[in-house]
Symmetry: C2
Amino acid sequence: MSNSYTMPIFVSGTELMYERKIPLTIDCGLHLTREVLNGKWKPALLNALSMDIKRPSEILRLMPDASRRVLNVQLKELENHGIIEKKIYPQLPPKVEYSLTEVGWSLMPIIDAMNVWGDANRNFLEEVIKQDPKIVQTSKSVCQNLQQLVVDRKIG
Amino acid sequence: MSNSYTMPIFVSGTELMYERKIPLTIDCGLHLTREVLNGKWKPALLNALSMDIKRPSEILRLMPDASRRVLNVQLKELENHGIIEKKIYPQLPPKVEYSLTEVGWSLMPIIDAMNVWGDANRNFLEEVIKQDPKIVQTSKSVCQNLQQLVVDRKIG
DNA sequence: GACATAGGGGATAAATTTATCCCCGGGCCA
DNA sequence: TGGCCCGGGGATAAATTTATCCCCTATGTC
């Protein structure tokens, strides 16, 4: 803390103050929605929140393939977009809970439909994806856990 | 044609034979669906096809913000994923028509829902997006055109 | 020849998104 | 002092996605 700090410098090009160079396309509802859901883990995050898995550490356990960092980033984007809310409990160790806003909840039918569609077409899709020479490996882990959890909740 | 061609060389790292390095996450339906719809113009393309706008040149006119190249690439991905089909008419000048497969049609409720949700929340979303310091400009053009076209069709 | 039509796609650059690493806070406990 | 807990986030590298450019097919027309 004895280093000579000057005022914070906002260098462009770093994550701090990164600025889109290509205009965001927001003409039709489709693009707006796409923008909101755009992020590898966003749909899964919303799904988790809707199932009452709301603390960062729980979410992390649920999605071992995602890095902590990326989840934080995507959660923050969802928050900035008004889809989720963050509640910080002033405790130690810290406790944080995310939850869907009303707008966020109104997205859930879409998330659910995506879930259903994907599961209904899993055989077909897995087959087709295997044909793709770009895809050499796939990973499965997340939702097994999730479903386990859900079942547990239903039973408990 | 008199150049001395050798056998085609498949260099890795170029678009030809580009190979994913990060395993595709396909555990729950959500991720599968996300994968299928993942592409800036894919939802819009499906939407267009569902409205009977099926020839590449029509689509291109409809989406002036998208480059021809990118649309071709995303159409091919949709085709590879079994979501759309391509019919080539052996004529000159060439004629091509894309259309949704049955599986593709089954996605339409989701696309429609995204459209509806985005439009219903447009005010809110535009407001929130404006707060985002990353976003300095947005572009609106595509769906105006689309709706115009649709109206034309309805009237005609 | 030059250009238009209608469609494809390679090479490569630029932009954006994910992943990796590592440090911070601040009690509590051994 | 060192480590655990539970969260946050900067820097930077790697991966992936989009954008740009430009050439090709083949026929018809000015």
